[in-house]
Amino acid sequence: MSAAVAAEPAKVDPMYQFTIKPLAELELAGFDISFTNSAAWMLVTTIVLFGFVLGGMKRQLVPGRWQMAVEFFTSFIDDMLQANIGDAGRKYVPYVFSLFMFILFANILGLLPLGVVGLHPFTFTSHFTVTGVLALITISIVLVVGFWKHGLHFFGLFVPHGTPLLMVPLIFVIELFSFILRPFSLALRLFVAMMAGHVLLEVLSSFVIDGSNAGALWGGVVGLPSFLLMIGICALEILVSGIQAYVFALLTVFYINDAENLH
């Protein structure tokens, strides 16, 4: 039995982990609104995030560890908005904080090794639909704030100060194009970074499985180094989770700054 298993290569499909499976079939007016594993993990992320923040809202004068952790994150976001937008940035703290923490928790929950107990985490930030919606919310806020505050002067964003009159049409088109691309680049960065890491881990795991199945020699030459590399990549993935959440929040702040202050 074991010889037969060893002879045939493990079928590791690196894309299988991104399949969206309905957990409960639902339908509304002909539309499929099934409760999927993606939605389930969004719910888990929300509950964990809610619990995390709730645990830190004791408002003790001498904060405990938990309260320190939550206050570290809130003051981190607060400082980021203060440094980039100024006092007008205070009102965006709730949005940017929710965005940053939601992405951070989603990324890290998706990395948890719960597979060993049979519960496979689903990284929903590795789907363009999810990150795309997050990016669209950001860009909607930018557009609404920009037009609300500056009216049609908001189009001045596309013509930087000191542009020679001759160049205005060309610069306007280029700046407009770069503005339109913003939601795409914002969403694409997060989704691809998360997907690439998970695919890489899956490919390396197929090296480990195939190498070890091929005997002790190949297990030592291919399997073991791949396994050590996987550990390193896992550490890198935790770093990437944080960096991508930070970059998403930071770029959101920059775009909101454009709308608030026009440059």
Partner: protein, 75 residues
Amino acid sequence: MDMEAAKLIGAGLAAIGTGLAAIGVGNIWGSFLSSALRNPGAADGQQGRLFVGFAVTELLGLLAFVVAMILIFVA
């Protein structure tokens, strides 16, 4: 050449792009580190720019990865 082989060769060529983005990202962190060591006092104030530069550069490498994925799974 049959279609499948052409796709895989294209995906392999797209991997060059990720390597080139690695040069770019290394450049950004390397220059940040060397300037931060010269003037550690100013380093913290430039972290926002560091991450924006990193994000913009990294995106180009990720685009190469997207091209590879499209060639393998979509095209």
